[in-house]
């Protein structure tokens, strides 16, 4: 493990990372507007993600929940487990979801419901709870 004392607080470097993130947001928005207006139908980022999820990315929605808890819900008390252990748990659960082929099973189980509860609402909530339990940041 790295010695925590060797870490430095470099605001200039953080600024650069911020600019990279902002540039990426702007590129994504511009690209999506271009895709919405061009002549090929259904090729916007939203549509691509929608088709991907309908074909089996339960895991993507799980990560939506995990990241939501990580970014937006901080933890005031000291961490119960180490960040590394938390990351391992989060990734292990994602692999388990793939190994046990949860999505088709959920789709079959929920197909009898009359009001069509989205399978992805379960994975989003599951991801949020896992993120809340194991992968939050200090406030």
């Amino acid at each position: 493990m790295k010695n925590i004392n060797t870490l430095v607080n470099d605001q200039d470097f953080i600024k650069k990372v911020q600019y990279i993130l902002i540039a990426l947001f702007i590129i994504l928005i511009a690209l999506d507007i271009y895709l919405a207006l061009d002549k090929t139908d259904n090729n916007t980022i939203s549509n691509v993600i929608l088709q991907k999820t309908d074909n089996g990315l339960f895991v993507l929605t799980y990560f939506w929940g995990v990241i939501a808890a990580n970014l937006f819900i901080t933890k005031k008390s000291p961490k119960a487990i180490s960040p590394l252990a938390g990351t391992v748990i989060v990734l292990a659960l994602a692999i388990l979801i793939i190994l046990f082929n949860i999505e088709p099973k959920m789709l079959t189980a929920l197909s009898n419901f009359k009001y069509n509860i989205s399978v992805y609402s379960f994975s989003m909530v599951l991801g949020f709870l896992v993120g809340y339990a194991f992968w939050r940041q200090k406030s």
Partner: protein
């Protein structure tokens, strides 16, 4: 003209870039420079519109009601979400640098975003759907 497959590759490339870049940032010697920390600091300070946007995108991409609230005015939810986000940015910009938006309001923003994406700005709207209670 970009085909659906090209867009898929672009999306996958961006996600891969973010994961690798974040791994690099977390293992270098500068602290508090990972994407997670930067976005958390933004969301808790002036740019809490990020929390709302994350919720809206979740509801928009992964959930989505079938019945359009605004009927055939498909453009209305798009314009409305832009207005709401600009409003949140303007409010945030006026706040002090030391301002911190509490955790419970973050949760509220996230949930209201999901509801907006699900009910108002859904990708799964079917114009002529009848519900059992109609």
């Amino acid at each position: 003209m970009l085909s659906i497959q090209t867009v898929e590759h672009i999306v996958i490339a961006i996600i891969a870039f973010l994961v690798l870049f974040n791994a690099y940032l977390s293992f270098n010697t500068i602290k508090n420079d990972t994407i997670n920390v930067i976005l958390k600091n933004w969301a808790y300070n002036k740019y809490f519109f990020l929390t709302f946007v994350w919720g809206v995108l979740g509801g928009h991409f992964f959930l989505g009601s079938y019945k359009p609230v605004f009927g055939s005015n498909w453009w209305l939810p798009v314009v409305l979400v832009i207005v709401i986000i600009l409003l949140l940015i303007v409010i945030g910009k006026r706040l002090d640098r030391s301002f911190i938006l509490k955790r419970r309001y973050q949760l509220l923003l996230l949930i209201s975003g999901v509801f907006y994406g699900h009910f108002f700005w859904s990708q799964r709207h079917i114009p002529e759907i009848l519900f059992p209670w109609e």
